[in-house]
């Protein structure tokens, strides 16, 4: 009996223990997720959500996108066996550079809505957060419109009602001008809401205005120059902006740029006496007065990048063979002017065709725009206290060239014995991880000890908007509006910082070439070249798919429409001819590195990146891009 009682009680306990409601049983709050109504009660939690949204911004060239995001368009040569496709292909796929991320847009919309709905935050906290969310959203729409033209403009979170009908979620593409108008009007609406003033990795009034100036300038030039490529338009205006809107956009660009200039918050970086070092330091100095909006990195704290590891000179590498991938091309180097504002090719030969001898490799680059040595690490250039060793071989008096496949393979040079004949840092055609153009990149290259190691990485900032670009935007807008005097004062501020102190006079005849050129050299490797060429509608002329010759390379420098389809190099040879006065000096040759077999061909269908059939299939209201 006792046994039965115990058994019954035990069974009863077991049964009642299971008597929970099903819904209660399953309804356990997750411990690893913070519900949105909790998250938006605390400014610190909101900030951490915002941090994620900042991290998801997209850059065309970015230090955390990998070195290869800087490597295209014949401005550089990719010295890595797996990356020669950049110089071997004969064009770009229509899908290249596409960006269509509405997951991110939805997260931004939700963020803005939830901050707006929050009751626990103070009014000024809310305004600050909303301004940042709206800035990120506008900036992201700007990134999308640059690549895709008009995209669906979605400014609130969309939810599916499970009715089986999704047509309310299928939003057609807005006009290209509508997206630009959205970016500009958002900027106008939030510029005075932004509370942040000191942190350059977050939205500030300057960043908002800089975005507005650039967006308005892009829209203006698409309106103005779109008429030269009438096939790059869609009848609904999803691609292409009517020419009549150009002046309005240029005025807005100029107004926004002037507002930044007048604020006095930012200035051109002038800290170091050597103008080239000063230019390189813009990108290294985190306190730079020039940067407006940056993507920040921090070493030993989890956010670093491998730009220095990938691109440091081979012989000065912190990481053995990890080096030298991004080699600026001679095409870019030739574009840097002489100090008297004239263009001239680097003098490798005299009028008779005889080589010119230089006692120091750097002499051939003397008297040029200081930005050359600030952007490009020249042969025999200084990095981390050491000089690069760039030498393509010995040139003997009889014209013979003695070269080898690697610096570790010495060769017999008559009179010198068995010696190293090529530099530790290249160039040898097809030898990866050393320069193959004769040049290394200097912009963003971090001289900090250990920055070239894979483990530590570099924490150099990526500057998304900087003051020099604002000045160039102002110069371009003013020039397009016909005010060449004002345009000249803006462009000359940027030029004099680079040592070009003779003022340049912009005129109706020269302003276009001059502004195209100035942006190319000032903003090299900052992710502008593709979008600049696209908005001026000269991409299909500059990258027309025809191979280049060395003689073509050195002529017509400074013309906006100059062909630029294949990257060249400038190879230094040591002249060895005992008894000759020039023995031991350097001569230079323009060389097309052997892996360069393709030539860039930009087709009309490349002006706007393809919207995939998958997207069109899900939303049939999306119209296709033109010429694809």
């Amino acid at each position: 009996m006792k046994k039965i009682t115990i058994t019954t009680m035990f069974a009863a306990l077991l049964i009642t223990g299971a008597c929970k409601k099903d819904s209660e049983f399953l309804d356990v709050p997750p411990k690893s997720i913070i519900a949105s109504d909790v998250a938006f009660t605390d400014p610190a939690l909101v900030l951490s959500i915002l941090g994620d949204l900042y991290n998801r911004q997209v850059d065309f060239s970015g230090l955390d996108n990998g070195w290869a995001s800087f490597a295209d368009f014949s401005e550089s040569f990719p010295s890595e066996n797996g990356s020669y496709f950049f110089v071997q292909r004969t064009g770009w796929g229509f899908g290249e550079w596409g960006l269509y991320d509405y997951t991110y847009v939805r997260d931004l919309n939700l963020f803005i809505e939830r901050v707006t709905a929050s009751t626990a935050l103070t009014e000024s906290e809310k305004n600050g957060f909303i301004a940042e969310g709206r800035f990120l959203r506008a900036n992201f729409y700007f990134e999308m419109v640059k690549r895709m033209g008009g995209v669906p403009l979605i400014t609130k979170s969309l939810d599916y009602d499970f009715s089986g009908n999704v047509s309310s979620l299928q939003i057609p593409r807005a006009k290209e001008s509508d997206i630009y108008d959205f970016v500009i009007s958002e900027a106008e609406a939030i510029k005075d809401l932004a509370t942040n003033t000191s942190d350059k990795s977050r939205a500030s009034k300057g960043a908002i205005l800089a975005m507005e100036a650039r967006a308005a300038l892009y829209a203006g030039s698409i309106a103005k120059y779109g008429v030269t490529t009438p096939v790059v338009t869609l009848p609904g205006g999803e691609v292409g902006i009517p020419a009549s809107m150009a002046t309005g956009y240029y005025n807005k660009a100029l107004t926004a740029a002037k507002a930044i200039i007048a604020s006095g918050t930012y200035s051109l970086y002038k800290q170091l006496p050597d103008l080239s070092d000063n230019f390189a330091n813009i990108f290294l100095d985190k306190g730079s007065s020039e940067s407006i909006f940056v993507e920040d990195f921090k070493a030993n704290a989890g956010k670093t990048h491998a730009f220095t590891t990938n691109d440091q000179p081979y012989s000065i590498s912190d990481e053995g063979g990890d080096a030298g991938r991004l080699d600026p091309s001679l095409n870019l180097v030739e574009a840097f002017e002489k100090l008297d504002n004239t263009y001239a090719p680097l003098a490798t030969k005299d009028e008779l065709g005889n080589p010119i001898y230089y006692s120091n490799q750097l002499d051939i680059f003397a008297g040029r725009d200081a930005r050359l040595a600030g952007t490009v690490l020249l042969p025999n250039g200084l990095f981390k206290g050491k000089r690069t060793d760039v030498m393509a071989g010995y040139q003997l008096g009889n014209g013979n060239i003695i070269s080898s496949s690697d610096a570790s393979q010495p060769q017999d040079v008559p009179g010198l014995g068995r010696v190293q004949v090529v530099g530790q840092d290249g160039p040898v055609s097809g030898l990866e991880l050393r320069t193959q153009t004769g040049f290394y990149i200097r912009k963003y290259l971090d001289p900090t000890v250990g920055s070239g190691r894979r483990g530590r990485g570099s924490d150099v900032n990526f500057i998304r908007y900087r003051y020099a670009e604002v000045l160039l935007n102002a110069a371009e807008a003013a020039a397009e509006l016909g005010d060449y005097a004002t345009a000249s004062t803006y462009i000359n501020q940027v030029r004099s910082r680079a040592g070009l102190t003779t003022p340049l006079v912009l005129t109706a005849a020269n302003y276009f070439d001059r502004i195209v050129h100035e942006r190319r050299v000032e903003l090299a490797f900052e992710g502008h070249i593709l979008f600049d060429m696209k908005r001026w509608r000269i991409a299909h002329i500059v990258w027309d798919g025809n191979p280049m010759t060395a003689s073509e390379l050195v002529t017509n420098i400074g013309s906006a429409k100059k062909r630029n389809t294949q990257p060249f190099g400038l190879w230094p040879y040591k002249y060895y001819n005992p008894g000759n006065a020039n023995s031991g000096k350097w001569i230079f040759k323009e060389v097309k590195p052997a892996p360069v077999t393709g030539s860039n061909r930009f087709q009309m269908g490349n002006y706007y990146s393809q919207i995939s059939d998958d997207i069109i299939s899900r939303n049939p209201k999306i119209v296709k891009q033109p010429n694809q």
């Binding site: 004969t90 064009g91 009438p230 096939v231 009848p235 609904g236 798919g545 025809n546 191979p547 389809t565 077999t597 393709g598 030539s599 061909r601 087709q603 009309m604 059939d613 998958d614 069109i616 299939s617 049939p620 296709k624 033109p626 010429n627 694809q628």
Partner: protein, 234 residues
């Protein structure tokens, strides 16, 4: 591990269980043809002039995208069914019928077996009677140009180019020509008996023939119209 008899049986069973028929057969009905103008092939650059084929009411709404070959040929493997064929806007060196309001004409195709269907279009120009000869390290070409479109849609010739290539693929594409010469449209005074020549560069490895072709760049049109490719020995 020792392989035992039952292991083999298990392996066979697993293999055999994969031997189910697929749900769908692969498409097997050929639709092919050429781009033509009055029965003559229109020559274009390979893989540059696209066309779209839609199968309405079946699967996703996207198009089946294809590209014309050098001699204007196309071919698709499809299922039986009804399709619509169209040319995307601004593609090809020819006019495709417009229906107004940015709508473009489509061609209904009812496929119930292999079918050959030529696509009739109106090119802006045609290259007539191209003749290629070699002499003194040069390829010489003579040809006539016929202006086909003379109405409001007429477009000027921007340039005529003579290409030579090492392989049977010859075009404006940098990979597909070894040398070329260009004659500006403004320099053409008569549309008949136009002569051009191009120097044959050093070919590595050497070969005693090249493939030659002429192309017309029409102002405001991206794709060129070409002549057929001719093998020229020297």
């Amino acid at each position: 591990m020792k392989i035992k008899f039952h292991h083999i049986i298990i392996a066979l069973l697993i293999t055999a269980s994969g031997c189910k028929k697929d749900n769908y057969k692969a498409p097997s009905v050929t639709l092919k043809g050429h781009l033509t103008y009055k029965g003559e092939n229109i020559n274009v650059e390979a893989n540059q002039v696209p066309f779209d084929v839609y199968q309405p009411g079946f699967g996703k709404t996207g198009s089946i995208r294809g590209y014309f070959d050098q001699d204007g040929a196309y071919s698709l493997l499809l299922f039986n069914g009804s399709y619509k064929f169209t040319m995307p806007a601004n593609q090809g060196p020819f006019l495709w019928k417009e229906l107004g309001g940015s709508k473009r004409d489509t061609l209904n195709i009812n496929l119930s077996g292999p079918q050959t269907l030529d696509i009739e279009v109106t090119p802006f120009y045609m290259l007539r009677n191209p003749q290629f000869t070699t002499a003194g390290g040069k390829v010489n070409a003579t040809f006539n140009i016929e202006k086909v479109v003379n109405d409001a849609n007429a477009k000027d010739i921007e340039a005529v180019t003579l290409y030579i290539g090492k392989t049977a693929f010859v075009s404006e594409n940098g990979d597909q020509n070894k040398a070329k010469t260009e004659l500006a449209g403004s320099a053409i005074t008569s549309m008949n008996n136009i002569a051009m020549s191009v120097n044959i560069p050093t070919l590595v490895p050497t070969q005693n023939y090249v493939f030659a072709r002429l192309g017309i760049k029409i102002a405001g049109v991206e794709d060129r119209i070409y002549s057929p490719i001719v093998k020229v020995s020297f």
